[in-house]
Amino acid sequence: MGVETKIEPTTIPRMPRGVRLKHDETRDEWLLLAPERVVKPNPSAIEILKRCDGKANVSEIVQALAEQFSADPALIERDVRALLNELAAKRMLDL
């Protein structure tokens, strides 16, 4: 079993039950809560994770972020794929 799950443009990343992105009022920051884990995602990861709503697919997420930040979709896609792979390996996202 490999770490790299094949990510297609139509893949819909989903946060499984037991994993949530939460804005923590005490610390005024976004945190990813998972089993026995509290992770502080970096700013671009936060924007990507906010869009992992279980409905949008990878190409829609990339497109939306490219528009939001007026950025090159190819660069955004690279970041999105890297994050999805990393979190899928940690079982914090299902692909």
Binding site: M1, G2, R17, G18, R20, D24, T26, R27, P35, E36
Partner: protein, 374 residues
């Protein structure tokens, strides 16, 4: 219960941050009798347990203080009749709830009620990968079979499952098989936690201590499985610190990330802290959680690095492991403020070496002292 795996999270070491996690020991009642149990020898009685209203207030105070995750533990938290009500309350506060259970006493109906109440995660203990041995360790006939059923209900309810296995002499040759069992049960995460010697675990240290060679083989086996199962199951591996070079950053540092509340309401930085003489621990009736966390002398006693003696004081690892575990320093040297003797640079390291040799010196088949209420 076994000592929890510490949260991994960023936090500055200079100012006192808010705690991330609260370990709620709802009760010390438990149907099992695990000899490695890290609960205190003096188990708290049912009559002294906090009632539902007080626990709810504790959770509200915790959320206000900045706690994000609540670990509902014990003993066996299922022994509390108000468990569903407590989960509902935590969920209403936005707290992430983790049920740490042996599974004994659970029914499918109750699990579904907990799930509907908003429970976020279930951590189920197993004692071994083989039924007869598992039941002998748990001191409970049929426990192993029961746990398989419980795991299936957890998956069926759509809840994420972690399997927790505490490793020691009697099951260490099956450490890898326990990972495989966790995969077969549908767990997304498994904790392979070598025994830490607190509470009943300390009493049973001779019986539980593995030999050096078997410990090394088990560690290598589990590390190999980590790669094999990447993307299938996350392996959290707590290695046996008596056989390590440096101590663990116990609880991520004293009073730095988590706090414990005992069944009767005592607030502790870790659940063995009560063994340390000279510290006075307040209860949730004496003061608010925030007041205890920030201001109580016991919480500040070993916070940060200022309290450290040498060799820790001038060591470049002092912000990594915080001088190790205070309770272990106490247990092995009689002084909680010394460097954890697990450390190769600690003046008392010889004491750990002597204990770690138990097994290899052929001190075999020491009988268990099973966990029980007085």
């Amino acid at each position: 219960m076994n000592k929890p795996v510490t949260d991994h999270a960023p936090q500055s070491s200079t100012k006192i941050g808010a705690p991330l996690g609260l370990l709620a020991e709802l009760t010390h009642r438990c149907p099992l009798a695990c000899p490695y149990c890290s609960n205190p020898l003096d188990l708290e009685k049912v009559a002294d347990e906090l009632d539902t209203a007080v626990w709810k207030r504790v959770f509200s105070e915790a959320a206000a203080l900045g706690v994000l995750q609540v670990h509902l533990s014990g003993g066996e938290p299922l022994a509390r009749r108000d468990l569903v009500e407590l989960v509902v309350h935590c969920a209403s506060l936005g707290l992430y709830t983790n049920l740490i259970t042996s599974g004994i006493g659970l029914t499918r109906e109750r699990l579904n009620a907990l799930s509907e109440a908003g429970l976020d995660h279930v951590q189920l203990s197993i004692q071994d990968a083989e039924a007869a041995s598992a039941d002998r360790i748990a001191g409970y006939e049929g426990a192993f079979a029961r746990k398989q059923a419980v795991a299936a209900w957890v998956i069926e309810a759509g809840l994420p499952l972690t399997v927790n296995a505490v490793i020691h002499h009697a099951n260490i040759i099956r450490a890898g098989r326990m990972v495989e069992l966790a995969v077969a049960l549908g767990a997304r995460r498994v904790e392979i936690a070598h025994t830490q010697y607190y509470g009943w675990g300390l009493v049973n240290r001779e019986a539980l201590m593995p030999g050096k060679a078997e410990a090394e083989a088990a560690i290598a086996e589990v590390e190999a499985l980590r790669k094999h199962y990447a993307g299938t199951i996350v392996i959290d591996h707590v290695i046996p610190d008596y056989h390590a070079r440096y101590p663990k950053a116990c609880m991520g540092g004293w009073a730095r990330r988590t706090l414990n509340v005992t069944p009767s309401g005592k607030v502790l930085p870790c659940h063995a802290a009560e063994t340390i003489p000279g510290l006075t621990f307040l209860t949730v009736r004496d003061a608010s959680l925030a007041d205890i966390w920030f201001n109580s002398p016991a919480f500040n006693a070993f916070r940060g690095t200022d309290w450290m003696p040498e060799p820790c004081r001038s060591c470049d690892r002092k912000e990594i492991d915080f001088g190790g575990c205070r309770c272990q320093a106490l247990a092995l040297t009689g002084d909680a403020s010394r460097a954890d003797p697990v450390c190769v640079n600690a003046p008392d390291h010889e004491k750990v070496v002597a204990v770690a040799r138990f097994r290899d010196e052929g001190k075999d088949e020491t009988p268990y002292v099973y966990r029980q209420m007085k």
